[in-house]
C-alpha cells in the first residue's frame, strides 16, 4: 500500500502533525470571496453579472464553506492535537458564541434597515426581497425562532450554517484524523440520504427548510476539514496530470453551459435534458452534485498551481485581499449590512449605471478599509499587550 492510501485510510496520530508555514492562499482567497459575496448580495447590479457564478456551477458560498473547514482544521484542529479534546472544544464553543451574537446583531440591524426603508419609501418589495415579512407580521414568533436559528431571512442563513458545522467540528476533526477517506464517504452518504428523504432543519413560518441545508452542506465543510488535516500532516499534492486535465475539462464545460444561450446538447437524449436543467438553475439548498464536482475541480487546480507563497499572493492585491480575509466575520457582517443598504439605494435610483458602479466601489472600499483598520488595531493591541505594564490597571 502506498503512503498516500495509508494516510487516507488510517490517518496519523495527533502528535504527528507538522507545523506548516502560513498558507497565504487561504486569507487571500477568502478576502476575494467576501468581496464577491457583497457584490452578489445586490442582485441585478451590473458588476454581479461578471462574478464567477455566471461561469461555473459552484459559487462564492461553496468556496467560503470549504475554506471554513480548512481554517477550522488549522486553528481548532491543531489545538485539539496539542491540548486535547476538552480545550479544543471549549475554544470552538467560544467561537460559536461569538458567531451567534454576531448573527443576532445582524438580524436586528437588517430588520431595522428594511423597516426604515419601507416606512420612508412605501415599497413593500424590500420585504419580499429578503423574506423578512414574518418578522413584521408576527414579531414575537419571529424573534423566538430567530433565537433558535429556525427563522432565517435571506442573507442571514450563512452564519447559522457555520454555527452548526462548527459545533460538529471536534467530531469531524477526530474522524478526519483517524481515517480521512471513510470520513468523506460517510459524509457523502449523509448528504445523499438526507437529500433523498427531504431532510432539512426547519425555517418558520412555512415548510421550506434552511436555505443552506446543513445535511447537504456539511459535505463541503468535511472536505475542507480533511484537506486542512492532510495539510497539517504535511501531505503533498500528487502530480496527477490526468486530474489536472479532468479539472480543466469540468471548468470549461461549466463555463460553456452557463455562458451559452442555447443548449448545445439539445438533440442528445438524457444529456440534452440534463444541460437544460443546469441552464435554468443549480440547486443550492440541497447542493446539486455538479456544484461539488466543480468546487473540487477548482480546489484541485489551486492546490496544484498556486503555491502557498506565490508572488501573486505577496503582491499588493494579494496582500490587500488577505487583510480582508483575515477578518472574515467582521467583513462578512459589514458586507451584509452594506449590501442591503446598497440594494435599497439601487432601487431608489432606478439602477442608474453610475450609481451602481459607485455603490459597488464604495462598498468594496469600506470593506477593505475595515480589514485594514482591524489589522492595524490588532497589531496595536498586540503591541500594547506585549509591552511591560507601566501603570497598574485602573479599577
Amino acid at each position: 500500500m502506498s503512503g498516500f492510501w495509508r494516510l487516507m485510510l488510517f490517518g496519523k496520530g495527533p502528535r504527528e502533525a507538522a507545523l506548516p508555514g502560513r498558507d497565504l492562499r487561504i486569507d487571500a482567497i477568502r478576502g476575494l470571496i467576501l468581496l464577491i459575496i457583497f457584490v452578489n448580495h445586490m442582485p441585478g447590479n451590473v458588476v454581479s453579472g461578471w462574478m464567477p457564478y455566471n461561469y461555473g456551477f459552484s459559487d462564492a458560498a461553496d468556496i467560503f464553506v470549504l475554506l471554513a473547514g480548512v481554517s477550522a482544521a488549522f486553528a481548532y484542529g491543531r489545538l485539539i492535537d496539542q491540548r486535547g479534546m476538552l480545550v479544543g472544544s471549549l475554544k470552538v464553543g467560544a467561537r460559536i458564541w461569538t458567531l451567534y451574537i454576531a448573527h443576532l446583531a445582524l438580524f436586528v440591524l437588517v430588520c431595522g434597515i428594511i423597516a426604515t426603508a419601507i416606512v420612508r419609501t412605501q415599497n413593500s418589495l424590500y420585504m419580499e426581497a429578503i423574506n423578512i415579512q414574518p418578522f413584521f407580521s408576527d414579531t414575537p414568533a419571529a424573534v423566538i425562532n430567530a433565537l433558535g436559528l429556525t427563522y432565517q431571512p435571506y442573507y442571514l442563513d450563512i452564519l447559522p450554517l457555520y454555527i452548526v458545522l462548527l459545533a460538529l467540528f471536534p467530531l469531524i476533526y477526530v474522524a478526519a484524523r483517524t481515517s480521512p477517506l471513510p470520513t468523506v464517504i460517510f459524509s457523502l452518504a449523509i448528504w445523499q440520504v438526507a437529500t433523498h428523504f427531504g431532510l432539512n432543519l426547519p425555517n418558520h413560518p412555512g415548510e421550506a427548510g434552511w436555505f443552506f441545508n446543513p445535511f447537504a452542506w456539511q459535505v463541503i465543510f468535511v472536505l475542507g476539514v480533511v484537506l486542512g488535516r492532510l495539510a497539517l500532516v504535511g501531505a503533498t499534492v500528487p502530480r496527477l496530470v490526468v486530474l489536472d486535465l479532468l479539472a480543466v475539462g469540468v471548468l470549461v464545460f461549466a463555463a460553456a453551459v452557463k455562458l451559452s444561450t442555447s443548449n448545445f446538447l439539445a438533440g442528445v437524449p438524457v444529456l440534452g435534458e440534463w444541460v437544460d436543467g443546469l441552464q435554468i438553475g443549480i440547486d443550492k439548498t440541497n447542493l446539486a452534485v455538479v456544484r461539488v464536482v466543480h468546487l473540487l475541480a477548482l480546489a484541485w487546480l489551486v492546490l496544484r498551481y498556486l503555491r502557498p507563497g506565490a508572488a501573486l499572493l505577496r503582491s499588493r492585491i494579494g496582500g490587500g485581499l488577505a487583510v480582508i480575509g483575515r477578518h472574515s466575520l467582521e467583513v462578512f457582517c459589514a458586507g451584509i449590512v452594506l449590501a442591503i443598504a446598497g440594494q435599497i439605494i439601487l432601487a431608489e435610483t432606478s439602477f442608474v449605471l453610475w450609481v451602481q458602479l459607485l455603490v459597488n466601489f464604495a462598498g468594496i472600499t469600506i470593506l477593505a478599509g475595515l480589514g485594514m483598520f482591524l489589522s492595524w488595531y490588532k497589531t496595536l493591541t498586540a503591541r500594547a499587550a506585549g509591552a511591560p505594564r507601566e501603570q497598574p490597571v485602573a479599577a
Binding site: 418589495l125 419580499e128 415579512q133 414574518p134 431571512p153 412555512g206 441552464q279 435554468i280
Partner: protein, 244 residues
Amino acid sequence: MLAAPKPLAPANDARCRAGASQHPFAPVLPAAKRALTETNQLVIVALGSSTTAGSGASEANNSYPAVLEAELRRRLPGREIKVINKGVGGQSAYDMLLRMESDVIAEKPSLVIWQTAVNDAIRDIGEEKLAKILKKGIRQVQGAGIDLVLMDLQWLPREGRYPKYDDYRAVLAKTAAENNVAVFPRYGMMRTWSRSKQFTPEELVGMDGDLHLVDAGYRCLAVRLADGIAAALTGVRPDGKPTN
C-alpha cells in the same frame, strides 16, 4: 400593542369588481370541473411567494388562499373545497419549480394557482431563463393533468425602481399564452383599483403604521379569483348572467 385589524366585510366586495370588464379573468378549468363532478371535491394548491404566504396579512386566515377557500365554499355550497397554501416568502420561480413535485403535485390538486416571477424581476435573473423555468413548471403541472392559472405580478405605485419590471411581466404573459395557461390579471386589477378611489393607497400596496400589509388587496384578489373559478365551474358569472 397593535390594534386588531378591522374585519373586512363581504359587503365591501363590490369595489373589488371595479373595472372587471377591462381585466377579465375567465379561465377554462376542465380538470377542476371533472373532479368536482366526479368526486364532489375541489383541491386547489396556491403556490407562490409572499403574496400567497400572506405573511404580510395581519392574520394567517386573511391570506388570499384562505379567503379564496371561504369564498368558494360560499359560492359552491355542498362541495368539498380545500385551498392549500404553499407560499414561501422571497422565493424565485426556480425555488418553486424545485418543489413542484413534492409540494404541489403530491397534494393531488385539480387546480394550481402559481404566483411567481416577482423576485425574478427584482433580481433580474434573465428573461430567457425565467421563460424556461416557467415553461418547465407549466409542463410539469399540465403533464400531471392539473389545471393551471398563473398570477400576474403586483402593480407597483412607483415602478421605475425596477426598470425591467414590465419586461418580466411580458415574459410571464407570453409563456402563459404559448402554453395555453390562463393568467390572473392582478397587475391590471390593482391599477384599476388604485384609480377607482374606493381604496386608499395603503389598502393596496402600502402598509399601516405597524408595517402590516393591509388585507383589502388580498381580499379583493381572492374575490376576483373566486369569481373566475366559480364561473368556470358552474357556468354562472358572479352577476348572475350565464357565461358565454
